[in-house]
Amino acid sequence: MKKGGIFALLILICLSLPAFGASGSKKASKDGSFVVGVLTECSNVAAWRLRSSQERVAFAPIYETLFKMSDKGDIEGYLAEKITSNRDKLTYTVTLRKDVNFSDGSKLDADVLLWNFKNFKENSQYSSTEFGMVESFEKADDYTVVIRLKQWTSQVPFALARNAGLMYSKKAFDDNGYNWCLQHPVGTGPYVLDKWVNDEYKTYVRNAKYWNKAAKPFFNELKVVVIGDEAAAQNALMSGEIDGYHGFSSASQAAMLKRGGYVQYANKLGYGVYIVVFASDVKSSPLSDVRVRKAICYAIDNATMSKKLGFGMTIANNQYGIPGTKFYDESIKGYPYDPAKAKALLAEAGYSKGFTTTIYTGNDMDMTNWLVGIQGYLKAVGITLRIEILDVAEWVSTYMYDIPEGMIFGPRHSFSSNIVNQALSNFSFNAIGGVGMLNKCMLHPADVNDALQKAVSSDNDSDMLSNFKNACKLIFDEYCLAYPLANSSSSVVICKDNIVDKGCFNAGCEFPDYNLISRK
């Protein structure tokens, strides 16, 4: 009787579980809503402070940019109608559409644009990258603002298709103050934030005052859920609690695609590069000898690593540019795997018995696997590689600044339309100023600097590309300042195959356009 009672209790508990779940797991993503998971909670909310790709996924329903990048990398008007340039006068002129308003009802006009530009220059962490060359802004008429430059740069239109082009409501700022804005997003986008439970989820509803009448958002509601564990995210995707997930490692992406029923939507221009950067600022370091740097590159079989460790999600490469894009340069030779040549170069440089050096990276399992691979390849040519894995806080605050003798392994060091700026920050004399990688490194050759400065100050696409490619040839083939092993898309969302993406995540623009995603 007693035993019977206990067993009856257990059976009752088991039977009650499906009853609890009946309205639960599989009902999370109804037809009217789209639920996407992200790896981490957003640290930044205000438009001028957005930084990570998770933040772009989470706040793209709310904020929109002045310009958009087409899939081919061309600049197209959006909140702004057009941008014109005058190289002689060192100006860009931005002309706004006249029908744009924010979700709080205020208009986007020249005063608001002027405030947004000034605020970005004063308070954004990207200020020096995006507006470093800007001298001042001035209002030309009710819908036109002129950007005055200190020195010519071709990168302003690209900047306005990224963070610098995100518009925040000046009315919301004036009414509520700076600190309020750091917690409350107010933009021109198709959705507004409905509820935010920190570290759990955000829900969004349609913006009743949305200016873009031509846009037809499919979903009435969006939900962004924070799932910090990849296995949990896979479970949530398989159980139907989420429709997509942003933040899977290459291994998880491959596993989900192999399982079937899922599709990969990735940014078409944004890529991360797995890159070894020779960061040494110590003259006596073996790495200060270009033959040693080249030997290291020849010793590593990046094609095999990309295949085995990238799970088909990475492309073995030898430069920043991605094959098939206008930035790719076929004439760059790179360093095809050749351990015999590596040994010969080491012997020539006086290191036939090898040496010991260090490579630094952030705490990321994916990166660690790559580093162990590199360590193995270098061991084969006599180089002992110490791996220093820094925790996230230490890595973020260190890797571009205080690396002593050794190398850096860039964790999917990402770039998109700012590919030229990225190279400029890292390898030109600008890096010494302190906002790019390698600011303490000796390796900033003058001709690399010249080529990059010419690229950034070009007034047409073909000059910019020609100078950029010239700089890349010097960086990678001539001086071997860094060794790009592989590329992977910097923003990937794995979705269930009933989700149709006509330009949301699967686009050239960094900011997803939630008007363009729907369900079959």
Binding site: I6, S25, N179, Y201, N235, E241, D391, A393
Partner: protein, 320 residues
Amino acid sequence: MNSFARFVIKRILISFLIIFVIAVFIFSVMRIMPGDPVRVMLGSEADPAIVEKIREELNLNKPIIAQFVIWIEDMLKGDFGRSLILNQDIGEMIAIRLPVTLSLTIPALILATIFGIIVGILCATYRGKLIDQVLTVIVATANGLPVFWIGIVLMYLFGTILGWLPTIGYANPFEDFFGYIRKGILPMTVLSFRPFSLVARQVRTAMLEVLRQDYIRTEKAYGISHRRIKYRYALKNALIPVVTVLALEVRTVVGGSLIVEQIFSIGGMGRLIMTSVLSKDYLVIQALVLVTSLFVILCNLLLDISYGWIDPRIRLAEGK
């Protein structure tokens, strides 16, 4: 002043001393840890001038002692400061998240206690028989399995395969009780595994020990029923050490909530600690460690006081 009052005052003073030592320790550790919180906050590409401006605003350029004094003064005023990363009032963050964690950990401890006692009694009653052996294996397994593994397996089984339960999220019991139960079952179960196994083992051992005592034999000789002896006398005495186990397990459950909240995407204290440590949000970490320590110290203080109250020999021994 009687011995019990002296005992209580002494315990409270010791608790304050421990809290102060923890405050000094956590403050020092956060300053020793590598990594610049302002760089983490603004990103590695941040303009050095802006970085310097924020450092000034956060008093990070002041001497360490001055920073410690400012922090302690603010804490005494009830001002925990603002999160560097999330830019929210830390006091408000704790007020929102602490109930979330407690609403999972307390039921987990209750579940662990109930099932632990039931299993412990069963094992003691059927000592050496099949049911004892099977349950002992289950209990030992529950104690040995890592929390994250149990979490993922249960999530896969009940969420993905069977589709009975949601695998992520949390619902406030006062707003949606049914949702709270539905979403909370798995995290609570995972959190209860270890305390359950300890309670079960403790009850089994204590029951067997008590059942061997002379007074139990005497009661049997008086003809008192086996059932009455077991539940009225043996279990009552066997439960005293269980209170100790549970009080000590509070810290295990609080620690386990770090992992459980991460796996089940629950925005409680555990997850906040995890994200704050990763992002070096040092003001939040300092406040959370202090609040968590206070909670654990309070539990231990209550346990000490209850011991002194229940057993006069303890407070008299301390008095000597």
